[in-house]
Symmetry: C2
Subunit: 242 residues, 2 copies
């Protein structure tokens, strides 16, 4: 059983302002919830249509399929929904490869980038304040638990890059051929907005502009999507470590 | 002005069987249509709400916004819609890097893979017969004209791989570290289905199984999406050529 008030709170959490005021976010489905339960994230409440799911968890509330449908953000609700507490901004350590996002707006792209960071062992992701919120339900479901292993920090990117002592690489269409660039173990890789790339303000703080070269003579191909470009560049930074 | 019969034909083209029986496919928007006009594809008919678009094209029919809405597959119809003739299956030349898809089902993934082939200068893409149709409207709009520069051939993949003399690489979760694999200029790269990977039948025809290694100690990350894996592997095959 779930109260009307609870339904109202949960459904409000698709909006960033309510996630901010309550300090809560939604995770859905057994697998995703289990990954958050096994992580540093603190469980607030847990709703399940199946008494056998999370049977040992004292916070579980049994609800009906109809109730789950009311609170789920998924087209096909997935047996369980949990509220977790939003983590406090972690401190960014100036070591290893750090990815920084300059106003990435699409939840699917952010979700894919978080999964890529996890895949390539990048544990620090610094997002400009205009980057889509990583606790957006679409991002949570797209990351499939990778968010439990990657620290996502929202910051004033201009200030952060002004103060760092690490070399700052940025992805630009007219950058230097990444295959011929010396890529260090410690550094920051800045990826830009889907439509506009890296902003002018941030461009001035880039130490080295890099690009994935286009092949072939006909140069009409559209630019690579930001998530795809991030994957290929992370591969370039990390391949020598293996 | 557009006839009821034409509307019926055009709207039927979201189904593969009608594309097959008519030999036609739909392209929408000025940019995508222009790329097909500049290619080997033959125009069948062209509808525009703006007389200034394609003003020199003798096949253009002026239609109203309401008519465009009836025939468009887009949520927000984009000024013009054209029908082009489906190209005949090209002959696959046994040279260069060839990408082969074993039952990739998602139109977005196929569209991204065609764009990646275009980016990395791969001009031959062999698809198993169960792979999603490249003339699917979602694929056409996702490829943004890359389909005019990449020959997509549908074939019995088992027969094709049985007969080729090229080395056949395949992406497998438990394959050999791709960073430590010698990747030749001429060869075939097989990518598998979204849920099941490369099928058993096709697996027996692979000369070398390769994998993008996961970084970090915690090995819980979900596998990379097939389009992302294709991008990273194409980068590995092609990076030495630059």
């Amino acid at each position: 059983m779930i109260s009307k008030r609870q339904i109202k709170i949960i459904t409000s959490l698709h909006q960033k302002k309510y996630r901010k005021s309550t300090g809560l976010f939604v995770a859905e489905g057994k697998k995703v919830i289990q990954e958050f339960l096994n992580s540093k994230f603190e469980l607030d409440s847990l709703f399940s249509v199946d008494a056998n799911l999370f049977a040992n968890n004292s916070k579980v509330t049994l609800i009906s399929e109809a109730e789950l449908k009311k609170i789920s953000f998924l087209k096909t609700p997935n047996k369980a929904l949990a509220l977790f507490k939003i983590a406090e901004n972690a401190v960014v350590n100036a070591e290893g490869l750090i990815v920084a996002l300059d106003d990435v707006r699409d939840p699917g792209n952010l979700g894919t980038i978080i999964r890529l960071c996890d895949w390539f062992g990048v544990t620090q992701l610094v997002c400009s304040e205009a980057t889509v919120d990583c606790y957006n339900p679409k991002v949570i479901q797209a990351t499939m638990g990778s968010l439990t292993r990657v620290n996502v920090v929202y910051a004033n990117l201009e200030n952060y890059l002004s103060e760092t002592k690490l070399p700052v690489f940025g992805a630009f269409m007219d950058g230097k051929n990444v295959y011929k660039t010396n890529l260090p173990k410690d550094g920051i890789l800045v990826m830009g907005n889907e439509a506009n790339g890296v902003s002018e303000k941030i461009s001035t703080l880039i130490t080295e502009k890099i690009a994935i070269p286009r092949f072939g003579e006909i140069q009409q191909t559209e630019s690579l999507n930001v998530a795809m470009a991030t994957g290929i560049l992370l591969n370039e930074f990390k391949r020598s470590e293996f």
